[in-house]
C-alpha cells in the first residue's frame, strides 16, 4: 500500500519535471515558477512555524534581505547570483538569529507581534537607506552570460532552477522530519519545560531553526529577485509574510507535505480565478486565500493533509480490495 503511494508521488514528480517539454506557454510557466517559489518560502517558514511552533509574521524581511544581498552583490560587485544566493542565505540567517534571540523570551502572539514590528522596521530603514537606493528599488541588468549571471530571457531555466531548489529543500525537510534534530524541535514545540528537563535547550534549538528558516527564505528571495529582475522595500510588507505562511497552514502546519500541497492547490487556483475574473484585477487571489484560511482554521485546524491522508488511504484500500 505504501509502495503504491510512492509510485504515485514519483509519477507526479516526473510529470512536473517533464512539463516544460510539452508546453511553450510562458504564462503557464510563470504560474508554476511562482507556485514553486511560494512553496519554497512556505516550507522554510514551516520549519520555524510548524516544527518548533514559533509563528513568525516577519519572514518577508528575510526574503527581502536575501533578494537585496544577491542583487547588490551582482549589481555593485559583479558577483554571480549562484554565489549571491547562498551568501544571502547565510547573512540573513545570522541577522535573523541576532534579532530573534531577544524576541524568544516572548511567547505566542507577542512573539508574532515582535516579528511583525521587526519586519516593518527593516522596511522603514531600507526606504531611508541610500545604499539600497531607498524606495526606488533596484532594477537588475541583463548581461550576455545568462548561465553565469542567472538572467535568462526564457522562463524554462528558471523553472528548472526553482524546481531543483524546491526538490532539494523537500529532501532536506524529509530528512529533518525524521532526524534527531527534528524530534528535538517537536519536543520544544509541544512542551518547553519537558524539553529542558531532558537536556534539550529550547533557546538553542529555536536559534538553530531560525538560522535555517530565515536562511532558506532568503535563498528564495534571491531567486525571486533574479527572476522578476526588480526589487524594492515593499517586498518586506506584512502581506508577503502572510502569503508565505498561508500554504503551510492550509496544507497542514508542521508536516512535510502540508506546504507542498497548500502551494500546489492554492496558487494555481487563485491565478485561474484571477484570469477568469479579469474585470477584478487585484485582490481576488488573496480573497480566495483568506476564505480558505478562515474555513481551514475554523473547521480543520490540522490542514487539508489531515483529511487527505485518510481519504487517500481509503481510496487505495478500496482499489486493492478490487
Amino acid at each position: 500500500m505504501k509502495r503504491i503511494k510512492i509510485y504515485f508521488l514519483i509519477i507526479a514528480y516526473l510529470i512536473l519535471i517533464l512539463i516544460p517539454l510539452f508546453t511553450d506557454s510562458s504564462y503557464f510557466m510563470h504560474i508554476m515558477i511562482i507556485t514553486y517559489y511560494i512553496m519554497f518560502v512556505s516550507i522554510s517558514w514551516n520549519i520555524l512555524g510548524g516544527f518548533i511552533g514559533q509563528f513568525s509574521l516577519g519572514h518577508a524581511a528575510f526574503i527581502g534581505i536575501g533578494a537585496y544581498v544577491a542583487t547588490i552583490l551582482l549589481v555593485n560587485y559583479g558577483i554571480t547570483p549562484w554565489l549571491g544566493l547562498p551568501l544571502g542565505g547565510i547573512i540573513s540567517g545570522c541577522f535573523a538569529v541576532i534579532i530573534f534571540a531577544p524576541c524568544f523570551v516572548l511567547k505566542g502572539p507577542y512573539f508574532t507581534l515582535a516579528t511583525i514590528a521587526l519586519a516593518a522596521t527593516l522596511r522603514n530603514l531600507f526606504i531611508n537607506w541610500d545604499f539600497v537606493s531607498r524606495s526606488i528599488g533596484i532594477v537588475l541588468p541583463f548581461t550576455d552570460n545568462p548561465w553565469i549571471y542567472m538572467d535568462f530571457t526564457s522562463k524554462k531555466p528558471y523553472y528548472f532552477i526553482i524546481l531543483g531548489l524546491v526538490s532539494l529543500l523537500v529532501w532536506f525537510v524529509i530528512v529533518l522530519d525524521k532526524s534527531k534534530l527534528g524530534f528535538a524541535l517537536k519536543t520544544v514545540r509541544e512542551d518547553e519545560d519537558t524539553a529542558a528537563a531532558i537536556n534539550i535547550n529550547p533557546l538553542k534549538y529555536k536559534l538553530i531553526t531560525t538560522f535555517i528558516s530565515a536562511g532558506l527564505a532568503a535563498i528564495a528571495g534571491g531567486f525571486y529577485a533574479q527572476y522578476i529582475r526588480y526589487i524594492d522595500p515593499d517586498m518586506m510588507l506584512i502581506n508577503y509574510s502572510i502569503e508565505s505562511v498561508l500554504p503551510a497552514i492550509i496544507g497542514g502546519i508542521g508536516t512535510v507535505g502540508g506546504p507542498i500541497l497548500g502551494a500546489l492547490l492554492l496558487h494555481p487556483l487563485s491565478e485561474f480565478l484571477r484570469s477568469s475574473l479579469s474585470s477584478y484585477n487585484s485582490g481576488v487571489n488573496l480573497v480566495v486565500y483568506a476564505v480558505v484560511l478562515i474555513l481551514i482554521i475554523r473547521f480543520k485546524p490540522e490542514g487539508i493533509i489531515g483529511w487527505l491522508n485518510v481519504k487517500f488511504e481509503n481510496l487505495i484500500r478500496k482499489f486493492v480490495k478490487k
Binding site: L106, K107, G108, A114, A120, N124, N128, L293, I297
Partner: protein
C-alpha cells in the same frame, strides 16, 4: 523650540486615535485573551462605511459614528459568534487565534481592494478651517474629532465601571470560571465584547475620515501602533490604553522632529519591541 507646543498638540490629537483603537484591542484581549490581529481592518471598514454615508446619503461626517457604531457592533458580534467563540470552545490555541484574525484582516483588506480599488479617497467638509487657541493653530476637524473621542472614551469607561453589563464584562475578564458560576452567560458577554471592540475601531475610523484619506491598506498604519499602545499602557487596562495612546502620539511627533519624519516608524516599532521584551523579562523576574 517655538514649534514644540504645536508638535505636542498634534501628538495628542493623533494619540487620541491610537487610544481609541487600542481600547478596542484591550477590551477584547482582557475578556477573551484573544490578540485581535484585524483591529486595523475594522477601522478601515468603519472609515469606508462613514465615507459612503457621507458621499451617498449626504450625511454630516460627525453624525456617521452613530450609525457606524451600530453597524460595527453587529458585525463584530457576528464574527465573534460565528468564528471566534467556536475556536475558543475548541481550546483556542495561539495558532488558531493568530491565524484566524490574520485571515479576517486579509479578507477585509482584499474585499475592500476589490470593491473600492486601491485609490485614496477623501471627503470634502465645509468647516475644514482652523482656529487660534493661545497662539497655536488648531485645525477644526481634528479638534472636533478629538472632543468626540474624549466623550467616547469616557462613555466606555463609565459603561465598564458603572453599568451592570459593564460589570459583567469585567467579571468575565477577571475570572471566567467564577463569572460563569454566578450565572453570567459568557458566550453572550464575548459577543458583546467583540462587538464593542469592533465598534470602537469603527468609531475611530469614522472620526478619522474628515481629515485623513481612506484606502484598503490603511489598517496597517494603525494596527501595529494600537498594539504598541496596548503594550505601553498594560494589557487589559482601559485607562492605560488611553494614556498609552497619547504617549505614543507624542513620542511619534516629537521623534519625527528629532530624527526626521521618514524614520518615525522605526522609532515606534523598535521602542515597541524593547518594551515588549523588558516587560516580559521584568515580569518573569518578579515571579
Amino acid at each position: 523650540m517655538d514649534i514644540l507646543p504645536q508638535v505636542l498638540i498634534n501628538g495628542i490629537f493623533i494619540g487620541s486615535f491610537y487610544s481609541l483603537i487600542a481600547m478596542g484591542l484591550n477590551i477584547i484581549f482582557g475578556v477573551m485573551k484573544v490578540v485581535n490581529f484585524c483591529q486595523g481592518e475594522l477601522l478601515m471598514i468603519g472609515m469606508y462605511a462613514s465615507y459612503f454615508l457621507v458621499t451617498v446619503l449626504g450625511m454630516n461626517p460627525y453624525l456617521t459614528p452613530v450609525i457606524v457604531i451600530i453597524l460595527m457592533f453587529i458585525m463584530g458580534g457576528l464574527i465573534q459568534f460565528g468564528l471566534i467563540t467556536p475556536i475558543l470552545s475548541k481550546g483556542g490555541s495561539d495558532y488558531s487565534q493568530i491565524f484566524l484574525t490574520v485571515g479576517l484582516g486579509l479578507l477585509f483588506q482584499n474585499i475592500a481592494l476589490l470593491s473600492f480599488s486601491s485609490n485614496y479617497r477623501t471627503i470634502q467638509i465645509e468647516y475644514s478651517t482652523s482656529f487660534n487657541l493661545f497662539g497655536q493653530i488648531i485645525s477644526l476637524p481634528k479638534f472636533i474629532s478629538f472632543i468626540v473621542l474624549l466623550i467616547v472614551s469616557y462613555l466606555l469607561y463609565f459603561f465598564l465601571s458603572k453599568t451592570d453589563l459593564g460589570k459583567k464584562i469585567r467579571a468575565t475578564s477577571q475570572n471566567p470560571l467564577g463569572a460563569r458560576l454566578v450565572g453570567i452567560n459568557d458566550k453572550q458577554i464575548y459577543i458583546i465584547t467583540y462587538g464593542i471592540g469592533a465598534a470602537l475601531a469603527g468609531t475611530a475610523g469614522a472620526l478619522l475620515l474628515p481629515f485623513y484619506f481612506v484606502f484598503p491598506l490603511i489598517g496597517e498604519v494603525f494596527q501595529l501602533r494600537a498594539f504598541v499602545v496596548v503594550v505601553l499602557g498594560g494589557l487589559g487596562s482601559i485607562k492605560g490604553a488611553f494614556f498609552g495612546g497619547i504617549i505614543l502620539g507624542l513620542l511619534e511627533t516629537v521623534g519625527a522632529i528629532i530624527v526626521g519624519p521618514s524614520l518615525k516608524d522605526s522609532i515606534v516599532f523598535i521602542s515597541f519591541i524593547f518594551i515588549l521584551i523588558f516587560r516580559e523579562v521584568f515580569q518573569s523576574r518578579q515571579e
